[in-house]
């Protein structure tokens, strides 16, 4: 490609960071040694580099981790090495929240002010941090800065803060629950602060009935030898023994449906990809970013070998060439443990009969959890969803048939193979089979991930987590996530199953159960949800790009008691905004950006008065 670059040059550390991913430059064009013979005849472009565009995101991460921001010179160098037009790379870099294109402090505290953390004092935390660290975003460049962040997926230990630091050895610390003092202390450290124990996120830990969470919190979760002696890799061995066809049959018989939110039958995906010919891929979607959701993080931190084993089985059953695990950028511990588990299995020679598995880190974009946006992100493009059809099983990652499954979905595979698909299908209800993880946060006494066979009601789940905390008087429960729905206190007997939720106009979504007590200003919660979708819309299609903004403005007008025209007019407008987003957006983000707000306005008497 004939590219044009500005005159900006990279610094030595920026070159070092890029070279650490791509290897040293082998020609003078990139600042390497001149080799007369080869340079007269070859250039590092064409097919050789075109095949490396997928390294753009890892390269941007490397630069950012080293110097804390992406300068013009650094972007130029990355683009030269990868043969990517700088305008496109700029478009990619500006897509992600965790990348700064201006000089930024080397240490940044990302303070969650999303709904679960709000219910647990994020407002006070932000005020406290402002006192000790100055205003958010901070104008001048100092050592530490802080920014407000959408949900960090640490809701069970809210309020949560993620501290990221760049440098020769970049690190990231999770501080949860956080206070202004612990955040300040973590920011002044030179290395990672110890993370909270994952065992504490699973109040049921140690109970014999657990399947998916059985090993979470066991001290040997990080050792392959212990994993094996504890029955690990048995499903993998069964798969090898019985062959791909048997595996897919079991998955089909299990009636397992995807746990990421869309509830698509998993067996159908596996079958379709297995039947496709040519190169194909497995993608484990670990970009869990739905506000209130942290179950996949707990699985990856608590039992990483099980997740990787399931990926191996998926690759073997579908005959895939390569597997990717796309972990959200805000999950440093999960990333590290998954990386370690993959490396251990690889050095034990166990990936040979499966396929190579690679970790890719997101960089702060909720939309990249949408499967086609995730493919674009891995490929080195902006994380904008693609129009469907074609579906991933026909044309997914790199345009090839791709099996994409959520972490929890994959974790179920081990049980299915060990118990048999039919036995798995017998657990739960007829239409919602198997064990299920639920994320309880907000006003519950014992927040955390709970494992229950499908069929439990919302009330039973809340009781399992110790009942409503705070004032003890329940006002509303958000189920399914920010893209889910609010239920009133009179709807708690609805079973949390696909059919049960549908009956009350809600969805299982990512199995969030977030009760709010009667002290919570529900209007403020709705506004925060609207703000979340406005921030996270990719901006590609008009209904979502503008609709999420108009929705937020409307709620703000209603909340401040300053409607344009009559209240009726404003409510009608809100319904129309909601409908165009649901009907005409490209992807699920737009389709569901209004569902929580709609459900709340249907059920609760909020925003019904002209003045507050």
């Amino acid at each position: 490609m004939d590219l044009h670059f500005t005159a900006d040059e990279p610094t030595a550390s920026e070159v070092e960071a890029v070279d650490a991913v791509l290897g040293a430059a082998d020609s003078r064009w990139f600042g390497g040694q001149r080799v007369d013979r080869s340079e007269a005849q070859t250039s590092e472009s064409g097919h050789r580099t075109a095949g490396r565009r997928h390294l753009l995101l890892p390269v941007l991460h490397a630069i950012h981790g080293r110097v804390g921001w992406i300068s013009r010179g650094a972007l130029n160098y990355a683009c030269k090495r990868l043969d990517v037009p700088p305008a496109e790379a700029y478009g990619v870099a500006t897509f992600y929240d965790m990348f700064s294109l201006e000089q930024a402090p080397p240490v940044v505290a990302r303070v969650c002010d999303d709904i679960a953390c709000q219910a647990k004092g994020a407002g006070d935390l932000c005020a406290g941090i402002e006192k000790v660290m100055g205003p958010a975003g901070g104008g001048q460049v100092s050592r530490c800065g802080w920014v407000r962040s959408p949900c960090l997926g640490q809701c069970e230990r809210a309020p949560a803060v993620l501290v990221t630091a760049s440098g020769e050895r970049p690190w990231a610390s999770v501080i949860a629950p956080a206070t202004a003092q612990t955040v300040e202390a973590a920011c002044s450290e030179d290395s990672q602060t110890d993370s909270p124990q994952v065992r504490d996120s699973v109040p049921q830990a140690g109970q014999a009935s657990l399947q998916l969470l059985r090993r979470v919190g066991s001290p040997d979760a990080q050792s392959l030898a212990d994993y094996r002696s504890d029955g690990g890799l048995r499903a993998w061995e069964l798969a090898l023994e019985q062959g791909p066809e048997w595996v897919i049959e079991q998955v089909e018989r299990s009636n397992l449906v995807g746990r990421g939110g869309a509830a698509f039958p998993t067996g159908r995906k596996w079958r379709a990809v297995a039947q496709a010919s040519g190169p194909k891929y497995v993608v484990c979607n670990a970009d869990e970013s739905e506000p209130g959701t942290f179950k996949d993080r707990v699985l990856m931190e608590g039992d990483p070998f099980a997740v990787v084993e399931a990926i191996m089985i998926a690759a073997f059953a579908t005959g895939s060439q390569r597997a990717y695990v796309y972990v959200r950028g805000e999950y440093p511990d999960a990333t590290e443990r998954m990386r370690y588990a993959i490396a251990e299995l690889e050095s034990a020679g166990l990936l040979e009969r499966a396929c190579p598995i690679e970790i890719r880190r997101g960089a702060g974009a909720y939309i990249c959890g949408e499967e086609t946006a995730l493919f674009n992100s891995i490929e080195g493009f902006r994380g904008e969803p693609r129009n469907k059809p074609p579906y991933p099983t026909d044309s997914g990652l790199f345009g090839r048939p791709t099996l994409v499954n959520n972490v929890e979905t994959l974790a179920n595979i081990l049980r299915i193979l060990q118990q048999g698909g039919a036995a798995f299908a017998a657990v739960g209800t007829e239409r919602s089979s198997g064990p299920k993880l639920f994320c309880l946060s907000g006003h519950v006494a014992m927040p955390g991930v709970y494992e229950v066979p499908f069929g439990a009601t919302v009330r039973e789940l809340i009781e399992l987590a110790g009942g409503v905390s705070g004032t003890g008087r329940l006002q509303a429960v958000l189920v399914g996530g920010a893209a889910g729905a609010f239920l009133g206190p009179d709807e708690l007997d609805a079973p949390f199953t696909f059919e049960g939720m549908r009956a009350v106009g809600a969805t299982v979504g990512s199995a969030v159960v977030m009760p709010f007590d009667d002290s919570v200003d529900l209007g403020a919660v709705l506004l925060r949800i609207a703000e979340f979708f406005r921030d996270e819309s990719c901006g590609q299609c008009v209904p979502c790009r503008v609709g999420t903004v108009r929705q937020e403005e409307l709620l703000e007008r209603l909340r401040s008691g300053q409607p344009i025209g009559t209240l009726d007019h404003e409510h009608r407008l809100l319904r129309e905004v909601s409908q165009v987003m649901r009907d005409a957006s490209i992807c699920g983000l737009g389709h569901t950006a209004a569902s929580a707000v709609d459900s709340a306005l249907e059920r609760f008497p909020i925003f019904q008065e002209a003045t507050r």
Partner: protein
């Protein structure tokens, strides 16, 4: 050469026997797909889109981000139609026709979505120089006023007009983010990749790397982005200046088709003039040679028609 191969060589005195006269392979007719549009059965060639089917039925379907010469990106969503069995509406411009599909184009749902999309665009951008969009707004009864005056314009929308070269200007207050310019600059036409979409959500905007000016960027001034811009966000500097002075007057303009005098390709130029001065040059989209695309010379290099001036020297320098 060995003796053996000499012996094998054809004897030039013997005429080569006549073979079949080569001819272009007969193009097989694509199989047809039958579907129903607003209750009317219609048959379109396989691979056609729902938009093709609608057009065949002479149903007026609004489009903004779609143009025949570029890959459909289906981002504006103004062409959505109702498809039986689909939970959401589908974009007509990119959805392929399948046998047995049942399409509705004039339901309440379709009209609402189209009207809202138009309102959304008009409430956040300056659409006054897009007669097409204004026409759709009228027919769908769009009322952008109901979002109030103080409502957000995207950051990129409030930036001043970018005038950084003598050939064309970029006024992103008029940009509806249809992606056409990006496609025309990139793989669909020019392969220059000087611009791309940057930022996210409501702040998404078209930009060069780090928003550098066009002369610092990879831009080659082919102007193919101007050729596809539906809202006047990208215009010739000549047009921009005339509009600024209030002298742009479409009623005094004529368009004349001619062939570009520069090289041997033979691109058709549509030369737009006002008061005998060239104000804009385009090429018809359906023109076989150009598909609407030109190069810097054909698009901008017409100052010689009005004799030497300071401007023409500047242009020559920029074009180098």
């Amino acid at each position: 050469m060995s003796d053996q191969s000499l012996a094998d060589a054809p004897d030039l005195t013997v005429p080569v026997p006549p073979g079949p006269v080569p001819s272009a392979p007969v193009r097989e007719r694509r199989p047809e797909v039958e579907l129903s549009v607003d209750g009317q059965l219609v048959s379109v060639p396989e691979g056609s889109t729902l938009l093709d089917a609608c057009r065949q039925c002479e149903i007026d379907t609004p489009t903004l981000c779609y143009v025949e010469t570029l890959t459909p990106v289906n981002v504006c969503r103004v062409c959505v139609v109702e498809l039986e069995g689909s939970r959401t509406l589908v974009p007509a411009c990119s959805r392929k026709a399948e046998p047995g599909m049942e399409i509705r184009t004039d339901t309440e749902r379709v009209r609402l979505s189209r009207r809202m999309v138009l309102e959304f665009l008009a409430s956040s951008t300056d659409v006054t120089q897009s007669p097409e969009l204004c026409g759709y707004m009228e027919s769908y009864g769009a009322d952008p006023e109901r979002y109030g005056e103080r409502d957000a314009q995207a950051e990129s929308k409030t930036q001043p007009v970018k005038v950084d070269n003598e050939l064309y200007v970029r006024d992103y207050a008029k940009c509806v983010l249809c992606y056409k310019c990006v496609e025309a600059c990139g793989e669909d036409a020019q392969n220059t990749f000087a611009i791309a979409v940057a930022g996210r959500g409501f702040d998404a905007h078209i930009a060069t790397e780090f928003d550098v000016s066009l002369p610092e960027s990879a831009c080659v001034y082919c102007g193919n982005c101007i050729g596809v811009c539906p809202t006047g966000a990208l215009v010739f500097k000549a047009e921009h200046d005339l509009r600024e002075r209030g002298e742009w007057d479409a009623s005094r303009q004529e368009s004349t088709d001619t062939i570009c005098p520069y090289c041997g390709v033979g691109c058709t130029l549509s030369v737009q003039t006002q008061d005998n001065q060239i104000v804009k040059v385009t090429s018809p989209l359906d023109q076989e040679v150009t598909s609407g695309n030109l190069c810097i010379k054909g698009r901008f290099g017409w100052q010689f028609t009005t004799g030497p001036s300071e401007t023409s020297d500047d242009v020559a320098a920029d074009g180098e």
